[in-house]
Symmetry: C2
Subunit: 148 residues, 2 copies
C-alpha cells in the first residue's frame, strides 16, 4: 500500500519549507535535500500552489513559502488534494466493469477504511510532524551557501 | 492510494470461492470471471494457501476452497498477509536514508493512520462483503459448464 509519489514529495516539500519560515525556498534545494527529481517537484509545487498550500514568487531570488501557518495545514487535507485517485483496488477504477454486478460490498468497506485513514491524518498538522531540532546540513549543497 | 494488485486479486478470489462453498473452484474460472491474469492469480493462490486462507487440491478435478468459514476470515488479516510492503511513502522503504535524519514525525503519523485503516477492515469478514444475491452468470464461460 502506497501513497503516490506526488503526495510523498508534497509532504516532504512542505516539511522543508515549514522549517525555513524566514525565507523563500527553491525547488533545487528541496530536490537536493531529499535527493529527488526536480521535474517531479515542479509538478508538486504547481499542485500545492493551486490548492492554496504554498505561495510562489517568480523571478530571480524567487521561490516558495507556506501560504498559511504550518499549524493550519492539516495532513489529511493535503493528502486529499494530492491523491488524484483513491481507487484502492483496480475494480473501482474508471472504465472497470465489476463482475460482481454492483452487489459487491467490498467498495463500501474499503471506502470507510480510507475515511478512517484520512480522519486520523486530519488530527495532525504540518507543525506536528516537523523535526524538533535543527535540520541536518547537507554536505555539498547550494543550501549551505544560502544560509547565513 | 492503492492496495497492491496481489491484495486486490486476493480479495476478489476469496469472494468468488466463498460464493461456491459446495465445490472446488479453479484459477481459470476466477480469471475468466473477473477478466484478470491467470499468472497473477497463481501467485495469489499460492500466498493465500501459505497463509492458511484457502486449501488447494491438486490434480484433475482439483481446485481450491476456503480453509475456514467466510465469517471467520477478517479482511484486515487478509490485507496484512497480502501486502508485503506497507511503506506508505518512499522514504520509509528499505535502503532509503531519510534526509530528516530520524527526527521526522511523518512516519509515526502515517503508521497510525494505516493502523486505523486496517482496524476498520478487521471489523468485517469475507462473509460481510459477499453479494446478497446469486452471482451473475458469465456469458461464454467454463464456469457455466461446471454449474449443475
Amino acid at each position: 500500500m502506497h501513497l503516490t509519489t506526488l503526495t510523498d514529495y508534497a509532504l516532504r516539500l512542505l516539511m522543508h519549507v515549514a522549517q525555513h519560515p524566514d525565507r523563500l525556498c527553491t525547488i533545487a534545494e528541496v530536490a537536493q535535500r531529499y535527493d529527488i527529481s526536480q521535474a517531479h517537484l515542479m509538478k508538486v509545487t504547481h499542485r500545492l500552489a493551486l490548492c492554496g498550500w504554498i505561495e510562489t514568487v517568480r523571478g530571480k531570488g524567487g521561490g516558495m513559502r507556506l501560504a498559511r501557518p504550518a499549524a493550519d495545514i492539516r495532513l489529511g487535507a493535503v493528502v486529499r488534494d494530492m491523491e488524484s485517485d483513491f481507487a484502492l483496488v483496480e475494480c473501482f477504477g474508471p472504465g472497470k466493469a465489476c463482475a460482481l454486478d454492483g452487489q459487491c460490498r467490498l467498495a463500501g468497506v474499503l471506502d470507510a477504511a480510507l475515511h478512517e485513514f484520512l480522519r486520523h491524518l486530519d488530527g495532525y498538522t504540518l507543525q506536528d510532524i516537523l523535526p524538533r531540532g535543527r535540520p541536518r546540513a547537507p554536505g555539498r549543497s547550494a543550501l549551505v551557501m544560502l544560509r547565513p
